[in-house]
Amino acid sequence: MLYAILCYAHEETVFAWSKEEEDAVMARLHAVQEPMARAGKLGPTGRLMPTTAATTVRKGKDEPLVLDGPFAETKEALLGFYTVDVDTLDEAIAFSKQLSAVNPGSTSYEIRPFYVFHPGEMKT
């Protein structure tokens, strides 16, 4: 089964990490991802800029409205995602628990199964 694992955290805290803290966290997360990647179970992953860089397009009366900011104001913002191809939900949960263990603070992971998944191809 294919899952998207969406990472939510307090962005005020995450974007206040010093370079050293940031590098340490990323190294630990990488160590968790590495076995999954080697097993061929890790698809595209991504880290998002702060919600201040976000734009939202909503249905408007005549034409769609373009609004500044994220879709929803939340305490914890969507800050990144993984795609994994695992046999069971338990495996996706286990992976998320490992990520959570090495990520400081109150980071949450939302596990969402895919109906359809196209990795696509981009030039950059």
């Binding site: 307090h10 005020e12 805290t13 974007f15 206040a16 990490w17 803290e21 340490a24 966290v25 800029m49 702060p50 919600t51 201040t52 860089a53 734009t55 373009v66 609004l67 500044d68 900011g69 104001e73 305490k75 914890e76 400081p104 603070g105 109150s106």
Partner: protein, 417 residues
């Protein structure tokens, strides 16, 4: 990262919102600060075991409010108890409080907290010190180190500034749209002051360099509560673009490296990427302002892979726009650099000639003019300009930079001069 390190980051992140709410509640900065401090101590005691709350700011407001009420009661044991109506309504449920924080109150709380640091009677340095103390929560010794003064002197400065703020009266009523916009502009200017303090003094004093990052953090915070303000996008983008060059601006000896000579691979591409997005968002609003235009100019440098790829024509046009919306001899001086690239040094010298009187006491004027004269081969005049610049330099790095220019002058000087 240890738990305590994370908790400290979370407390700093929650500070403007929590302290702003406590200030609205107690209507007294000292009481609010004490209450916040007490709440932070309790957080450090309880969060490592119980885990951090999902909404740290709401937790701190709730705990701070209760401890603040206790403190006020103890202090006034001999006075009649404060009237309950002096406080906003009391509620014991954290959930309730968290819900209410979602209303628009909290953005005015944060804005107010920043705004009281910008009292027009306070000189710039005191506004910066007060903001770093109150909004950012830096300690007095940290701020003292950055400003190269003793802790006692800084303590006194901040105490005086606070007294001035208190005397002026903190505006607690919810501002109307016009007033809110005015406050936002004043607060933006204060944040840019904090940034510039770090930008200009950062090399000689590393304590100061951290101000740049703090200012960017405050910019993002302001943008989070006012997400559709193009000038706040512009300001944040501008600071990010300038700070993206931090590692390339100075050499190992602390000498200034000019934009043209910087190693562009040292520029922070992540920060540049975020800034370019903010600028794109700002431009969509079609309300150009000084921060946006300056950010757009800075972005043209960031987009150029090599100095010779720089779009000087566009930069000249943008400085022209900036001259119209915010006329200043300094803007014209900056424009002269673009003009020199497009039309040569003589055209640029003609452009800045009328500024000589107004900018006579300004380091950069003589530095830029000396550089242009040197390009034009007028080495004798260049030497005079550089000497004048050295006399006006604000830091050893500026001084050393001009000396280097003079050395170049010597190397190309003809004996006839």
């Amino acid at each position: 990262m240890t738990d305590i390190a994370w908790i400290e980051l979370a407390l700093t992140a929650a500070r403007p919102q929590a302290l702003g709410a406590l200030l609205r509640y107690f209507r007294d900065l000292d009481t609010a600060e004490e209450a916040f401090q007490e709440a932070c101590l309790r957080a450090i005691r309880t969060w490592p075991d119980k885990g951090a709350p999902r909404d740290p700011a709401a937790w701190l407001i709730f705990v701070g409010r209760n401890s603040g009420i206790d403190a006020v009661r103890k202090r006034s044991k001999n006075d009649p108890l404060p009237e309950e109506t002096a406080f906003s309504d009391l509620s014991d449920a954290e959930n309730d409080l968290a819900d209410r924080l979602d209303n628009s109150n909290y953005r005015d709380d944060i804005l107010r907290l920043m705004f009281i640091c910008c009292h027009p009677d306070l000189p710039n340095t005191q506004q910066i010190a007060l903001a770093l103390r109150i909004v950012s929560g830096l300690t007095v010794p940290q701020i003292a180190r950055a400003f190269l003064v003793s802790e006692a002197a800084m303590e006194q400065r901040i105490t005086r500034a606070k007294a001035r703020v208190a005397k002026a009266g903190v505006p607690f009523e919810t501002p109307g749209p016009a007033e809110r916009a005015e406050r936002l502009g004043i607060v933006a200017a204060m944040i840019y002051l904090v940034f510039n303090e770090g930008y200009s003094a950062g090399i000689t004093n590393p304590d100061n360099a951290a101000f740049c990052e703090e200012a960017i953090r405050l910019g993002r915070l302001l943008l989070r509560i006012f997400p559709a303000e193009p000038e706040i996008m512009g300001l944040t983008a501008l600071m990010m673009l300038q700070h993206s060059r931090a590692r390339a601006r100075f050499d190992g000896q602390g000498q200034i490296i000019l934009l043209d000579d910087q190693d562009r691979s040292l520029w922070d591409r992540k920060l540049i990427g975020e800034a370019l997005v903010l600028l794109d968002k700002a431009i969509r609003h079609r309300q150009p302002g000084p921060y946006q235009v300056q950010a757009a100019i800075s972005a043209l440098h960031a987009r150029a892979a090599r100095p010779e790829d720089t779009d000087w024509k566009e930069i000249d046009m943008l400085y022209g726009l900036l001259e119209r919306i915010q006329p200043s001899p300094v803007v014209t001086l900056n424009r002269a650099v673009a003009v020199s690239k497009l039309e040569g040094p003589e055209a640029a010298l003609d452009l800045i000639a009328p500024l000589a009187e107004k900018l006579d006491g300004y380091f950069y004027f003589h530095g830029v003019r000396g550089g242009l004269l040197m390009q034009a081969g007028r080495n004798g005049e260049a030497r005079v300009a550089f000497d004048r610049a050295i006399a006006l330099a604000n830091s050893p790095a500026e001084c050393a930079h001009i000396r280097q220019q003079i050395d170049k002058l010597g190397a190309v000087a003809s004996p006839a001069e």
